[in-house]
Symmetry: C2
Subunit: 224 residues, 2 copies
């Protein structure tokens, strides 16, 4: 196996990605837009949460938009477009993550100054997206109560590269016999001090705290 | 981005993997062992199903064993070892999939003739494992009712490289408002004719059919 060569080439790609991500981060800061990315397994509820967030924030008069990454289909973009926010799908083909170049390309015809907040929904994958900086200010890792309490221990890298953990689908925690305290301990073991927000889009539990958390970061962005 | 070079190197790695996988497949056939791999998102229930399967098959007098892939921790191996079957963990570090070389290395001190059935549990990831042949006879893709009905459409490659779809956690399908028929249509749209087994380890629904399905393939393997 020519693995050492693959590792070397991959390191060059990551270095290139970091340079592009730094450029994006500067653009976002100059435009005063707060950029938040979401990573998780497929089916942890990224799109449902994002659709709700876009709808709520628009009704509060905020200028919000989203980029969504998927291997195939425009399903998510269609779901998100119901919020009437500006939405663009990035279809990656067989690529298992978004990178800074894809994000930059998707935004080439957008005027970032028109936005308060931009969400980037990554491809559903708990491994590969961890290596790719997208220039975001905040990275949310979603973990649904259906996935088991041990996921932070088994996928430590993604938790280490994220800023906030969102525990989703709280409404079915009991049906799944999910031990919330054990899950929180596992998150803290991997990334001590990481903020954890527990919520359910379906029941509304924890949603106001989550929106307040976003609003506080939005104020910080404007204050910069 | 030096992406074309990355693609070229990756193709070489895949070619090498295919050669090693062919060698493994021949070894498995010579030893008369049925090799079944499992792929899915993290938390779809691979380990729970596997622990149950190993325990049941051992009590039926079958000689079963398992290899489990994870980025970190020996948790799965510990869970699977409760079945008293032979189990080995492959810890991949930051690598998002198993490959044929890892499988070959893990088996170097095993006598395959001592086995009727070997399971390989891949890293939880619906993207990258699709490219790596592990020499298995059957590849199961697990999809839990918590993940949403559209996953086959959004991750078509993994469904295309699998032989059987297992719809897991059937006991909470209703709590998740999961539309089983829509999910089945989506699987068939991506991979027409693919066998689909619906089951729940917790409630026992569909488990006997699943075990019968495995037994029928085991007989074919012995008959070869």
């Amino acid at each position: 196996m020519s693995t050492p060569r693959l590792v070397e080439v991959r390191q060059n790609v990551l270095k290139q990605n970091d340079i592009l991500a730094r450029g994006l981060r500067q653009r976002f800061a100059d435009a005063g837009v707060l950029v938040v990315s979401m990573v998780s397994t497929p089916g942890a509820g990224k799109t449902a949460l994002l659709e709700y967030t876009l709808t709520r924030m628009r009704s509060d008069g905020l200028r919000v938009a989203a980029l969504g990454g998927d291997l195939a289909t425009e399903n998510d973009a269609r779901r998100l477009a119901r919020s009437e926010a500006r939405v663009k799908q990035i279809t990656t083909g067989t690529v298992c993550h978004l990178d800074a170049e894809m994000v930059g390309r998707a935004l080439h015809d957008w005027t970032l100054n028109d936005l308060d907040l931009l969400f980037i929904e990554n491809v559903g994958n708990l491994v590969c997206p961890s290596s790719y900086d997208l220039g975001e200010r905040l990275r949310f890792v979603l973990m649904s109560v259906t996935e088991g309490e041990d996921k932070p221990l088994k996928y430590p890298t993604i938790f280490n590269t994220a800023d906030v953990a969102l525990m989703t689908k709280l409404d079915i925690a009991e049906a799944c016999e999910f031990d919330r305290e054990a899950a929180k301990r596992n998150i803290q073991a991997v990334r001590p001090g990481m903020p954890i927000l527990e919520l359910s889009v379906k029941s509304g539990q924890g949603i106001e705290d989550y929106l307040k958390f976003l609003a506080s970061h939005l104020r910080q962005e404007v204050a910069v």
